[in-house]
């Protein structure tokens, strides 16, 4: 019994590490044309990994359904872009990612997380 419970605990820890840190296949999408809708709800961005082309203007339409005040802001810290998202009204964030690379976007407290991959 003791061994089983201890093993279960260790498996659980391994699972947490794998599921939250190692596993990478999050909801991904590519900006087609120049518009992509991102839903902000229940603590996540959907899709949370966004692919875009460098030098091409994109519009990310944030649809915030989450009334949690944490969801109010979206920040692309490294790109110095930020926006206040109104609840229920789509908000279009238009910009041109110039540099290639991976840029995280988060809420103010970095709990909601997404990634913009510029190729």
């Amino acid at each position: 019994m003791e061994i089983i419970i201890n093993l279960t605990g260790l498996v659980l820890i391994a699972f947490i590490v794998w599921w939250f840190w190692i596993f990478k296949n999050r909801s991904e999408a590519r900006v087609e044309g120049n518009l992509l809708e991102i839903v902000v709800d229940s603590g996540v961005y959907e899709p949370s990994v966004i692919h875009a082309k460098a030098g091409q203007e994109i519009t990310l339409r944030f649809v915030r359904k989450d009334s949690n005040p944490c969801a109010e802001k979206v920040l692309f810290d490294d790109l110095e872009i930020s926006a206040d998202l109104p609840l229920g009204t789509p908000y279009d964030l238009t910009f041109t990612p110039e540099k290639k690379g991976e840029f995280e976007f988060t809420c103010q407290m970095a709990m909601y997380r997404g990634k913009l991959i510029v190729e």
Binding site: I16, P69, L75, E80, P86, L87, M109, M111, R113
Partner: protein, 741 residues
């Protein structure tokens, strides 16, 4: 409504959803007779139309093409506020209902009012309690569970995850005990419905309080938005009508009466007045306005009634740009916050792992009843951990700090400028226009015998009318003030670096420095002593000779701003070395430096060399701020650690500057530095508090004190502490609102 105007109008089209809509709308508008240009901004769904067409025709053209248009207005702010208020009320109602049920459950549990759980009656009664708790969990805490599930699916974990697991485990275990009381040993036969519901109640209450306090942090933005009046009195077809501010068009003639707010930016065309711009620039004294002067939307007309022509409307007004800049800067994250972000990113999974370890530790080494101890400690660990306090620590202080700065006319453009301003060691001030007014005036007229002051000024002004030198402007301005009409001259020749040679009324006139006079053998005689005296006082002396005879000289100086000395002293008191940079000669520079009390000065610096001087200081390990006008000093501003553009009036978005000072005073620099220092201190307090809280609270919740003291943390206390911790962070940040630089 029939508002005809030959300039641009802004429409808002709510249903633009794709790139092809843009094309359709633009084509529809361009086909309207009289429309010159139509441009759709996809981002904010606005359309700018230029041409001689009334707004209603444009609106009709858009609706005919299948879209809904209105005159553009920015009402998102009040909408947002209403929604926030509704959310706050909803949270409060949930807290009250959850609180009442929780207290009822606590009462029956503590007072032992229900029958033994092992009896059938007991099972039924506790079953009802279980259902009541489930109601609280779903009604007041439902969002934690859906949030946890959604983020789990996305391989993400957040605060919802911790709360959902913590309270969920408590409810599931307790309900299991109710259903199968005999499968659990007697000493572990305890239920935790009260714990689960009270935790949810506390967290809801905490969220509501936090939201309330957070609302206060954006007060600065609300105050700025509140500056804009709702209506404007505009001339339309010969009469004055009150219209909503969104309908004001470019080039509209707007009437402002005493005591009223100026609705948009423009140029005064009739009348004069004094205008209070303090809420925009921090400048306490009302500014006098006459025909041709710029007026800024949001400022208050103090005395006369006047008319002005609208030159910037909607999102282009200085006020809108300020609001935009403040909002952006408030969202920025200085370097100091990055560590907390990194910790936040791995926080929740780490806490989950700690929770599992806690469980295993109590299982392997804990006393009986193991199950109870495991459950209580694991729940406490999950509930007490507060990523919110950590995540909020930096941004919430930045919001208040940036807003505070805006109140003093200090607009922060880049987020890291806030942190760097707090760490400056040297401030470099450009002399002209920064320490001084930047507008040279004639301060002395010294004719030799045989000439009058008027003669001297008339000759100088007649010649200088042809020059573009900034000093020449001062001479011409002085003659205008004395109503002296300049005469025409026969010839004009600039002597590079020294002055001008001209023929005036058939006489050869020399106008320039001492070298020009010496080179041409003009005997300055008694003028020498007096002119040297003025030079030492920081004035520039221009000699005038007529046919080889000295006629006198003019003293020109750029007056030092009245509060420069005081502001420099404030900077020095903040532990900052103040250096003056100028293209002037050493003597003048030395005088000004002594008058305002800077620590050091660098004179005779050519404009393109300013940036090198900054680099030289930085090479010595100094953290250098450059303060200049933002145009001539652009490279130096860009090269410094923090670039301040000073007194730029309504042009708020200067690219090369990190911080724009709305007010012409150097006090803005001192304000910026002390607000930055206070904000940084506040962030540090928050970070120390949040890190400290989590690193102390989690081990205590895990039961680290138990072997020594026998103390365990009640999960209910953990819930209350967690709710309080983020409220504390926000409240501490709000203290900054009372800071006075």
């Amino acid at each position: 409504m029939n508002n005809k105007s030959e300039t641009s109008k802004r429409l808002y089209v709510s249903d633009i959803s794709c790139a092809s809509c843009v094309e359709t709308i633009e084509t529809a508008l361009k086909s309207v007779p009289g429309v010159d240009e139509a441009h759709v901004n996809f981002a904010d769904r606005s359309v700018t139309v230029s041409g001689d067409v009334s707004a209603d025709i444009l609106l009709k053209a858009v609706s005919d093409s299948g879209y809904t248009a209105s005159i553009a207005q920015d009402k998102t702010e009040s909408e947002r506020e209403n929604k926030d208020l509704a959310h706050y009320k909803e949270l409060l109602i949930k807290t009250v209902i959850a609180g009442i049920i929780s207290l009822a459950i606590v009462a029956v549990t503590m007072l032992g009012l229900l029958p033994e759980i092992t009896t059938f009656k007991g099972q039924i009664s506790w079953g009802v309690v279980s259902l009541l708790a489930l109601f609280v969990l779903t009604y007041a805490g439902g969002r934690f569970f859906t949030g946890a599930l959604k983020s789990f699916k996305n391989h993400n974990a957040n605060m919802d995850t911790l709360i959902a697991i913590g309270t969920g485990v408590a409810w599931v275990y307790s309900s299991f005990v109710v259903l199968f009381p005999d499968s659990v040993s007697e000493i572990a036969r305890h239920v935790y419905f009260d714990t689960a519901t009270l935790i949810i109640t506390f967290i809801n209450l905490g969220s509501a309080l936090e939201m309330r306090a957070r609302g206060k942090t954006s007060e600065a933005i609300k105050r700025l938005i509140g500056l804009q009046p709702k209506t404007a009195r505009v001339q339309r077809e010969g009469s004055e009508v009150d219209i909503p501010i969104e309908q004001v068009q470019m080039d509209d003639i707007v009437r402002v009466r005493p005591g009223e707010k100026i609705p948009v930016d423009g140029e005064l065309v009739e009348g004069s007045s004094h205008v209070d711009e303090s809420m925009l620039t921090g400048e306490p004294v009302p500014v006098s306005k006459k025909v041709g002067d710029e007026v800024v939307g949001g400022s208050v007309n103090k005395s006369g009634s006047f008319l002005f022509k609208a030159t910037r409307i909607g999102k282009d007004t200085a006020l809108s740009q300020i609001i935009d800049m403040v909002r952006k800067a408030q969202n920025a994250k200085p370097e100091i916050g990055r560590l907390a972000d990194k910790v936040s990113a791995i926080f929740v999974p780490t806490v989950l792992i700690i929770a599992v370890f806690t469980m295993l530790a109590w299982f392997n080494f804990g006393p009986q009843p193991q199950l109870t101890y495991m459950l209580v400690t694991t729940m406490a660990v999950l509930i007490i951990a507060c990523p919110c306090a950590l995540g909020l620590a930096t941004p919430i202080s930045v919001m208040v700090g940036v807003g505070k700065a805006a109140e003093y006319g200090v607009l922060i453009r880049r987020g890291d400028a806030l942190q760097k301003s707090g760490q400056l060691t040297t401030v470099v001030l450009d002399k002209t226009g920064t320490i001084t007014e930047g507008k040279p005036v004639v301060t002395a007229l010294e004719p030799t015998s045989g000439w009058s002051e008027e003669d001297l000024l008339k000759i100088a002004a007649s010649i200088e009318t042809n020059s573009e030198h900034p000093l020449a402007e001062a001479v011409v301005e002085a003659s205008k003030e004395k109503n002296i009409e300049p005469s025409s001259i026969e010839s004009f020749e600039a002597v590079s670096g020294h002055g001008v040679r001209a023929v005036y009324q058939q006489k050869t006139v020399l106008l320039g420095n001492r070298k020009l006079m010496d080179d041409n053998g003009v005997n300055l005689g008694s003028l020498m002593d007096r002119s040297e005296e003025l030079s030492k006082m920081g004035q520039t002396v221009i000699f005038v000779s007529v046919d080889g005879e000295a006629a006198g000289f003019l003293g020109i100086s750029d007056p030092i701003k009245t509060d420069s000395k005081e502001a420099i002293q404030r900077l020095q008191e903040l532990g900052i070395k103040v250096v003056m940079l100028t293209g002037d000669n050493r003597a003048t520079a030395e005088t000004v430096a002594a008058l305002v009390g800077v620590d050091d000065f660098i004179a005779e610096v050519l404009p393109h060399d300013k940036a090198n001087q900054i680099t030289r200081l930085q090479a010595k390990g100094e953290k250098v701020a450059m303060v200049g006008d933002g145009i001539n000093d652009a490279p130096a501003l860009a090269g410094s650690d923090v670039g301040f553009a000073i007194g730029t009036g309504t042009d708020v978005a200067i690219e090369s500057a990190d911080i724009t000072l709305m007010r012409g005073s150097l006090h803005g620099v001192a304000d910026a530095v002390s607000i930055s220092k206070a904000t940084l201190r506040n962030i540090k307090e928050n970070l120390v508090g949040a890190f400290g809280y989590n690193s102390l609270a989690i081990p205590i919740a895990a039961g680290i004190l138990f072997p020594f003291t026998g103390l365990l943390l009640n999960p209910i206390i953990a819930g209350a502490a967690m709710a309080l911790s983020s409220v504390t962070v926000v409240t501490n940040a709000n203290r900054l609102r009372w800071f006075k630089p």
